[in-house]
Amino acid sequence: MTTFVELLLSGLSIGSVYALIALGFVIIFKATEVVNFAHASLLLAGGYLTAVLRDDIGFWAALLVGVAGAAAVGALVEFLVIRRYRGHDHSVLAIVTIGVDIVLVTELTRQIGARVLPMGDPWGAQVLTLGSVSIPQTRVAAFVTAALIIGAFLLAFRFTSWGVAMRAVAEHPETAALMGIRLGRVSSSAWAVAGALATVAALFLTVFPTPGLERGTSLVALKAFPAAILGGLDSTTGALVGGLVIGVTQSMAAGYQSDLTFLGRGIGDLAPYLVMLLVLLVRPAGLFGTRELSRV
């Protein structure tokens, strides 16, 4: 039972981190209808900046710079690439983001090399114990931070003029433009927000019990794709639920690995994708995605 609760808590915590990434992914999709395959590279960029700068300027300042840097990279990609596309096919634009991703990830993994960069976070390897359940402090911090950020974001989405503009664009870009909403600004802000969220996620993906940022971190980030798809690409609720489902599944599959040996080693890494496939079989638009009503 204790193991179960520990796994559940750690799953929820890692799931909330996936939710942060998936949320950025969904925001970009809603604002620009682009499926952003370069998301993992934004995450890696933010994480790398934080890890490299923390020795010189301290952890918190480095994190701020990382967040700002990834937001800038996101906005820059939007400005230099996405805005220049004149065609109509958003599938092709998704392929463009793959090109961007190849370049960025190659450069960042080259910089990182074989190193493992520790984040130097204030939580370290301390463990919080409640009764018989013990959980790393980093996991608690991850959950609280993710919940705060997501809550703040959802409020902003509902009540600020930026949020209203964003939702209007998602609903109908042409009409929104006619109402005086500047599409370019909305879409670059979406990319910037996604970059910032990804950096926070990068921080919590690389702290204890993980040793630090390494070249494989972008692969870990790929697990947020199933989270976004599973919840439904155009639904913020879906991103949250998807993230949590993926996190808990992964944590459970990894934790009970010894009972699942017939499935082979490393089933925990595979579980998110299997869950996604199962959900897609039943609901092709994801759990909360808008169903297509065009049937022929």
Binding site: F37, I95, I98, L281
Partner: protein
């Protein structure tokens, strides 16, 4: 969605007028045919035939002149071309993004090893004759694609892209864990193919004073396979199925209204593209002579996407051009890394050839989609066009 409707209608209007010259954006078979009609038929046909014959002769003669390194590079390009043709049927012609192509390459490669290999040590093999093993491997890849059809038939575009991402990870998991079939982390050796009394291994056969080893012999097998694959895909794209696929890409609902069974066509083209990947996998395995799981990862799937985007979406020639470009780029950079600025040998801290080629084709994807929709093939076509207009 509404935008793509207008694109589709203007597209068909443009081709209906048979003005053809600008081709109205989408490279549909109809557009190409209209353009062919405008051109003075006889001279153009003769010119094409002559060029093709010269190119074919050159390809046939190459094994007598090139060393093993370049032959292997060329063979890798041929295998990649076969795989890329398959992916272009799926992604280029039908608009279904796939990030799982490397999974089907792996099914083909390992399928061949299991079917043709002998049981020995830890490994299981069926020891089937070569032709049966190749056919079986391709059929296996097709069956794997068929198993995925409940998802491949329903999802579209980038959604499918992420769903197929799952295949790569499932593939890696199976390859690393099913030891008796795949050999685990170190992979398994590939049994040489023997076909029609010829064994494609390193025993030397001297042809016209040139020693023929595995690469020389495989070169011809690769050429034949590529030609057959290209011919078949060309037929698919030019006739009814191709029209249906393009219609699904350009306007799914309109295609459905006109009687195209959208889900079945999508599932079907997914199976076909998997079979192409399977065959490419077999050829790759034969060239490498050892299959390792690491090769069939996400990077390989992205490379195939890069090929079709760089070469040109939706056409056979585009796939082949892109495959040659993306495959030969790292080989050339490796070979001449000392002479090139900015590139240094792997492990010295500078930009390694592999990394350099990734920068180049990553940037090429972006540049081509933004500034040259239609890819390198379109560039060549445009060049030809302006020349003819001047003449």
């Amino acid at each position: 969605m509404s935008e793509s409707t207008t694109a589709a209608t203007t597209g068909s209007a443009g081709t209906a007028k048979a003005s053809g010259a600008s081709g109205a954006g989408s490279a549909t078979g109809r557009g190409r045919r209209a353009r062919a009609r405008v051109r003075p038929p006889r001279r153009a046909a003769a010119y094409t035939v002559a060029a093709a014959a010269a190119g074919g002769l050159l390809l046939l003669a190459l094994p007598f002149y090139l060393d093993r390194f370049w032959l292997q590079a060329g063979l890798l390009a041929m295998a990649a071309a076969i795989g890329a043709i398959g992916l272009n049927l799926l992604t280029g012609a039908t608009g279904q993004l796939s990030l799982g192509h490397s999974f089907f390459l792996a099914v083909g490669a390992y399928g061949y090893c299991v079917l043709a290999g002998d049981t020995g040590g830890e490994l299981t093999g069926l020891g089937l004759p070569g032709w049966l093993a190749v056919t079986g491997a391709v059929a296996l890849a097709g069956a794997a694609g068929g198993l995925f059809s409940p998802i491949a038939g329903r999802l579209r575009g980038a959604y499918l892209g992420i769903a197929t991402l799952a295949l790569v990870f499932i593939g890696q998991h199976v390859l690393l864990n099913a030891h008796d079939l795949t050999g685990g982390y170190n992979g398994r050796p590939v049994p040489p193919l023997s076909l029609l009394g010829i064994t494609f291994d390193d025993t030397e056969t001297v042809v016209a004073a040139v020693p023929f080893q595995s690469m020389e012999k495989l070169w011809y097998a690769g050429l034949v396979l590529l030609a057959v694959c290209a011919f078949f895909a060309h037929g698919v794209l030019r006739d009814r199925p191709g029209r249906a696929l393009n219609a699904i890409r350009d306007h799914r609902i309109a295609a459905g209204v006109m009687g195209v069974p959208v889900a079945r066509q999508r599932a079907g083209v997914f199976v076909l593209s998997s079979m192409y990947a399977g065959l490419a996998g077999v050829l790759l395995a034969l060239v490498f002579q050892q299959t390792v799981p690491e090769y069939f990862g996400i990077v390989l799937a992205l490379e195939y996407l890069a090929m079709i985007v760089i070469g040109g979406l939706g056409s056979v020639s585009g796939a082949v051009t892109g495959a040659v470009f993306v495959t030969l780029l790292p080989q050339i950079l490796t070979r001449y890394s000392e002479a090139l600025p900015l590139v240094s040998a792997p492990g010295t801290g500078g930009v390694a050839p592999g990394e350099m080629s990734r920068y180049l084709y990553g940037a090429a994807i972006v540049a081509i989609v933004l500034f040259l929709p239609g890819g390198l093939v379109r560039l060549a076509a445009r060049r030809g066009h302006t020349k003819k207009d001047e003449a």
